[in-house]
């Protein structure tokens, strides 16, 4: 996209949206996240990254397996599960920090949606174990203006790892 004044306003607005989302996730306010940031049409995907040599990689599109491939109903199940008394995996909760950077709108879709890329570094620690996990990823989002604000319609999380270095993906990237 050409860099116009309008674009930089859009960039700032989307960055605000993604920063606010990160805060809600780090505060474990998953119901708020679902209700304030996510569209009912959401498609949230995280493909398995397979190491291929360049010759074999050229022909490969998205791999046929995902770590996460959610629609609204599954995200809702994840969130409702956290709300029960028995979701041990996040009780006590992980300490997470979503560090979002390199936010840039990369295109508009005819339907009024905007495609926005960002980088994510996610820090996670659990309990008093003297160790932590770091996940690095590119995020390719599609967002839509929806009444009171932006909503996430699509998120593709491209992990920078083939073997995922965190014990489970209860965390939302």
């Amino acid at each position: 996209m050409a860099f116009t004044r309008e674009d930089s306003l859009l960039q700032a607005e989307l960055q605000d949206f993604l920063f606010a989302e990160a805060e809600v996730l780090d505060e474990h306010r998953y119901l708020d996240w679902l209700n304030q940031f996510v569209s009912k049409e959401i498609r949230y995907r995280m493909p398995v990254q397979v190491t291929r040599d360049r010759r074999n990689a050229a022909s490969a599109s998205l791999p046929s397996m995902m770590h996460v491939d959610d629609d609204w109903d599954v995200l809702e199940l994840r969130v409702l599960r956290f709300e029960t008394e028995y979701a041990w995996a996040e009780d006590p909760p992980s300490r997470t920090r979503h560090l979002v950077s390199n936010v840039r709108p990369v295109g508009r879709v005819d339907t009024g949606e905007v495609r926005v890329h960002s980088n994510l570094l996610l820090y996670r620690s659990r309990g008093d174990k003297p160790a932590f996990d770091l996940l690095s990823a590119a995020r390719h989002d599609t967002v839509r203006q929806d009444g009171d604000g932006w909503r996430l319609v699509e998120r593709l999380v491209l992990l920078d790892q083939s073997v995922v270095l965190t014990h489970n993906l209860t965390v939302i990237l």
């Binding site: 398995v48 190491t51 491939d69 109903d73 029960t84 028995y86 995922v164 993906l169």
Partner: protein, 456 residues
Amino acid sequence: MADVEALEQRLSDGLTRLDRDWTVPAEIIASPEFHELERTRLWGRSWVFLAHESEIPCPGDYVVRYIGDSQFIVTRDETGTFRANFNSCRHRGMMLCRAEQGNTSHYRCPYHGWTYNNRGDLVGVPASKDAYGGKLRKQDWGLLPAPQLDHYRGLIFGCLDSETEPLCDFLGDMRFYLDLILDRSDAGMRVAGPPQRWVVDANWKLGADNFVGDSYHLLMTHRSLMDLGFFPRDSKFAMYGEQIATDRGHGLGLISAPPGTELPPYLGLPEEIVTQLRRRLLPEQAEMLRRLSIIHGNVFPNLTVGDFLLPKDLRSAPTSFAALRLWRPLAADRVEVWSWCLIERDAPEEFAQATYETYVRTFGSGGVIEHDDIENWRSQTRILGGDFAARQHLNYQMGKGVLDQDKNWPGPGEAYNLEYAEAASRKFYQHWMRLLAAPENPMRVGTSAAATGAEV
């Protein structure tokens, strides 16, 4: 590091107590000493799962896989034969394949250019005449093959001991039950895609133990999903079924449903597959499949197999998916988990898609069910890695004095007509302790009786 004889003695005591008290020494779970001993006495002896044949459907296709900490290139050569060659150039030991998968007729070493065909023969040495004066006998310097390689119903296994009993004997009675998942259709199964791989700070045995014979944990570990109505609200639903323990540490559970509960027959498989399975399987096998909701099992040591009839969210009807799970140890307290979804090749596209969606949303790295299991295993590992754990013996007494073997069960192995049994877990740890306690490989041809002898 304790000397090996001291470890053997502790294992021998552990076997005595398992036999007498039905307990398992807590120290064997996460101690670095036993992890070290596993390297030679378990991974150096046992058949280990490498790949599903559908991952390498065409000549030249390869995947890089592990037995213990050693990498093998598992490939289908130009004649269609499976090969597993050590991923290491014979010249300086350089890693040949640095991708996880691909297709190639030749592997060229990036260091000096020694080149091998996908049978493993050395076929090219740069500047051979100048460097070796024509004296290098290429036929002597092929890649080192895995000492044994074999396959069963699409599962490719390797073994580092050339004298370990053949794969079919090693699988033994477990084959009957593997067929319930792997031999239902003429075309067989395919992987839905590459494996999900992730690292968990837990010992590998806890995953195997959980899947081989622990349906009891569902009522508490997965309570959140019962409260939401994802699992049946009867918290003891996983009690209803049959648990089977077989020789050599394999085992499984076949969960049906609480009395009076209707299930879609044959795991809700599409009609095309049901017709085939009723023709292919024995009548008693087909009858087992007819009234099942979950198959969970483990092929000793570290290949978990299963088939699960589950909804993919709180609104959908259940669909079944088959899965393979490999627990590859990285350390006493770290495991690399590999998880594959299997789909019937002949299944209609709509069913295949529903199967994939159910798998990815409930199971594997991102699935909602397993998150809590993994939290258990990492917490167990952390606590059992401490010195004081050596004073503890874990209770595997479920069924002791109250549950007799099911003599009417129409399948092989030691069967119990109640899934709250722990029999398969006891057999798993018994075989593991026997293997680690034995200076010589007890699974060698002619000596396997020693490994399987007395019942727990």
